[in-house]
Symmetry: C2
């Protein structure tokens, strides 16, 4: 594509707050949270209406370079080719793209005010536990869920019939060492805050690594095998009837 034509398309797209995507050959320098350089190659460049700036290589899922929403963009001529300069000032980030060839370009105003509905996240898991406290223990009485406290963010918090406070940490996937550390932190804080040692820690997840289980036991905590609601719905019909009502 002709250089002057590209400049015009770029300016019009930005002025109209349209989405702009193009294939090009380019070389990239990033400076900000790190320093990075990517030699010349073919890429897809996406510029969104809100300033989001994405550069994708032909493989792999993540953009190789990017700036966040709110970035400012400027296109200028530079030593016989084009220089597309992006900056995101809040983080002092700069993304400079030397563009050698523009192959193809699309631009369009996209209309989309929709939000995704999602189920099966960690909040849904703590919901299920609150509604079926027997998952944790016969005598477990949850009193709060997803609560931000001075202690931190407790997934489920309650007590049992023996005068123990109970802290439950949920993980949607295999719980590892960091999950145990997190639980340990919460339990320690609760002990300190309430001035008691009668605090139990429970980790609820569909799976746990052997190292994590060992560490969990060394702290005197317990693990409960809990399958997140949406997966229970597909893998276990009985579980579904428990968790979805």
């Amino acid at each position: 594509m002709d250089r002057a034509d590209f400049i015009e398309q770029f300016e019009q797209a930005r002025a109209a707050r349209e989405m702009l995507v193009f294939f090009c050959s380019c070389e990239i320098n990033y400076s900000g949270r790190a320093e990075a350089h990517l030699p010349k190659g073919d890429r897809l460049i996406v510029i969104k209406q809100d300033g989001v700036f994405l550069i994708h290589q032909p493989e792999k899922g993540n953009p190789i370079n990017y700036l966040k929403s709110g970035a400012e963009l400027a296109l200028e001529k530079f030593e016989g080719h084009l220089l597309l300069k992006g900056k995101y000032l809040p983080n002092k980030e700069f993304l400079d793209v030397e563009i050698y060839t523009i192959y193809d370009l699309l631009r369009r105003k996209l209309e989309d005010g929709q939000q995704q509905t999602l189920m099966g996240n960690e909040a849904d898991m703590s919901d299920a536990i609150r509604d079926n406290p027997a998952m944790i223990a016969r005598d477990f009485k949850p009193v709060s869920r997803e609560e931000h406290t001075k202690v931190g963010f407790l997934d489920v918090f309650g007590h049992d019939g023996k005068g123990n406070l109970v802290v439950v940490e949920c993980k949607r996937y295999t719980a590892g060492l960091s999950a145990v550390s997190q639980l340990h932190r919460y339990v320690a804080k609760i002990k300190q805050l309430k001035g008691t040692n009668k605090v139990k820690g429970v980790l609820a997840s569909p799976k746990i690594t052997s190292n994590a289980e060992e560490m969990l036991k060394s702290y005197g905590f317990e693990w409960r095998h809990v399958i997140p609601p949406h997966r229970a719905a597909r893998h276990d019909k009985k579980q579904q009837s428990l968790t979805n009502f």
Copy 2:
């Protein structure tokens, strides 16, 4: 764009392993690690040569829906419109896109074998500490760096002149509670493994949150103010001469 034309373009692009991007109006269902639904709206769809499948709304940086490299795609007619079905079998993930209108399309084989060079990551930071151990303590002697052990991944490990083992955990940015927990885990493991209590924990980062600092002190650990190399290069000329050699 005409439906039959789109089908042909899609099939050709996939057969030739080209990158394919298009604007469309669509409705999306995802099932796999969670269950999600996104009502009809305008989006950018990107299909990469390796099967990466990205759907972007007109704002925000991350794709609203996606499948990873290796996904299989199939396009079929469905009740008067088109259905683009993606599946990623290793995780039993399914991404179905009902396409109502195709606005524009680009496809091209992109040639790019380049890799990004990056400096200023955590490894560079542990390098700098290894080369300037006085950053941690006058008498600190590093013996290893970036080492995978049974204990975990130790950024810098060494000893001081008083017979203490020293574990250093680096963070490129503000260290929070989880960084302290991580350090605590490493120190505990080292104590257990070496059968000694003479193990010191040091957290090195440019910043630390107040809660994290409090927790750090309660464990008897210490914090060192360390600026990652690439930022030191821009903010402190003296630091540059130390760290870049």
